[in-house]
Amino acid sequence: MLSTDDDILGQAEAWAKAGKGVAVATVVETWGSAPRPIGSHLVIDEDGSFLGSVSGGCVEGEVVTEALDVIGTGKAKLLEFGVADETAWRAGLSCGGRIAVYVEKVG
C-alpha cells in the first residue's frame, strides 16, 4: 500500500511520543524533472527506520544517514542532490533533476 502523508507524519509523531529521536526530511526545492514533488516527506527514527520518500529511491539512503546525524546534534540541515548521478543511472533513473531536502529534528 502507498504511504500517505497521514501515515508518514503520523508515524513521526508516534515515534517521538514513544520517546525516540526522530527527524523529518522535506523536499523544499526541485529543479528540472524531480521524482517527488515539493513538500514530500521522509521520516526517520534514531534506529534508521524510515517511511515516505524524497526521491524515487536514489538518495533516501544518504538522507537517512544525514538524518541520524541531525537527530544526534539537533541541528537542522539543508541538503542538495543531483538526481542524475552515476547511482541514478544504475538505478535506471535519468531524470536529470536536482532536489533540495531540509532535514530537522522533532522535539
Partner: protein
C-alpha cells in the same frame, strides 16, 4: 520542529482542516497557520495563495518554506444509478473516497455496488453524518427532485468545491426555479454544474462518468479557493 507543532499539523489533517506549516530554512522557529490565524500573519498573502493552490514551496524572496496541507478530496454521489456504477470505481482510482446516498432500496443494494459505502437513506438523514465540507465533490444523479433537491441544498450550505447535477437544460431550469423558491441564493444556484460533466459528447454511463470526473478534477486543480 517542536513535537507539539507536528501533533497540531497531524490533528488538523485528521479533522479535515487546512493548515500551513511555516518553516524557517535557516533554522528559526516554525509556526502553524490555519484559517483562524491567517489574518495578520506576516506571510498572509503567500499563505492564502498556497492554501488556494494546495502547493508547498519556498516563499519567493524569503527563507520560509510552506508545507501546505489541504484535506484530501471526498465525493458524495446522490443516486445508486447506472452512471454511479461506473463513476465510483473511477473516482477511487483518482483518489476520492466515494459514498453513495439513495433512499430507493431497489437501487441501493450491495450487489450493484460491491465494496462501496451505500446509504439507503433520504439525504436529510444520511448527509449530516457524512460531514460534507468545502473539500467534497457533490454529484446529484437521481434525476428525482424529491431526492436531489434537498441534497443540493445541503451541498450549498457546505460550500462544496464541486456541485454537479444530472439533467438537461430544461430539467435544470425547472430545478433552479424550485430551489430558488426554496431559498437558495442566485450565487449558489449558479454554482451547479448542469448538464453535469464536461461537454465531450459522452453517451454511455462510463463516458458520462469520465466527463463528470474530468470536470471535478478541473474544479479541484484549477478552481478551489
Amino acid at each position: 520542529m517542536r513535537l507539539a507543532l507536528l501533533s497540531a499539523l497531524n490533528a488538523a489533517r485528521s479533522d479535515r482542516r487546512a493548515a500551513v506549516l511555516v518553516t524557517d530554512l535557516d533554522g528559526g522557529a516554525a509556526r502553524l497557520v490555519t484559517a483562524e490565524t491567517l489574518a495578520g500573519d506576516p506571510l498572509e498573502e503567500a499563505i492564502r495563495t498556497a492554501l488556494r493552490t494546495g502547493r508547498s514551496g519556498i516563499v519567493e524572496g524569503t527563507r520560509a518554506f510552506l508545507t501546505v496541507q489541504v484535506p484530501p478530496a471526498r465525493m458524495v454521489v446522490i443516486g445508486a444509478v447506472h452512471i454511479s456504477q461506473a463513476l465510483v470505481p473511477m473516482a477511487r482510482m483518482i483518489g476520492y473516497d466515494p459514498v453513495i446516498v439513495d433512499p430507493r432500496t431497489a437501487f441501493a443494494t450491495p450487489e450493484r455496488f460491491p465494496g462501496v459505502t451505500v446509504l439507503a437513506q433520504w439525504p436529510d438523514e444520511a448527509l449530516p453524518g457524512l460531514k460534507v465540507d468545502r473539500y467534497t465533490a457533490f454529484i446529484a444523479l437521481t434525476h428525482d427532485p424529491k431526492i436531489d433537491d434537498p441534497a443540493l441544498m445541503h451541498a450549498f450550505e457546505k460550500d462544496c468545491f464541486y456541485i454537479g447535477a444530472l439533467g438537461s437544460r430544461k430539467t435544470h431550469a425547472r430545478r433552479v426555479e424550485r430551489l430558488g423558491a426554496n431559498g437558495a441564493s442566485p450565487e449558489a444556484l449558479a454554482r451547479i454544474k448542469a448538464p453535469v460533466g464536461l461537454a465531450i459528447g459522452a453517451i454511455t454511463p462510463a463516458e458520462i462518468a469520465v466527463s463528470i470526473l474530468a470536470e471535478v478534477t478541473q474544479a479541484w486543480r484549477q478552481g478551489i479557493a
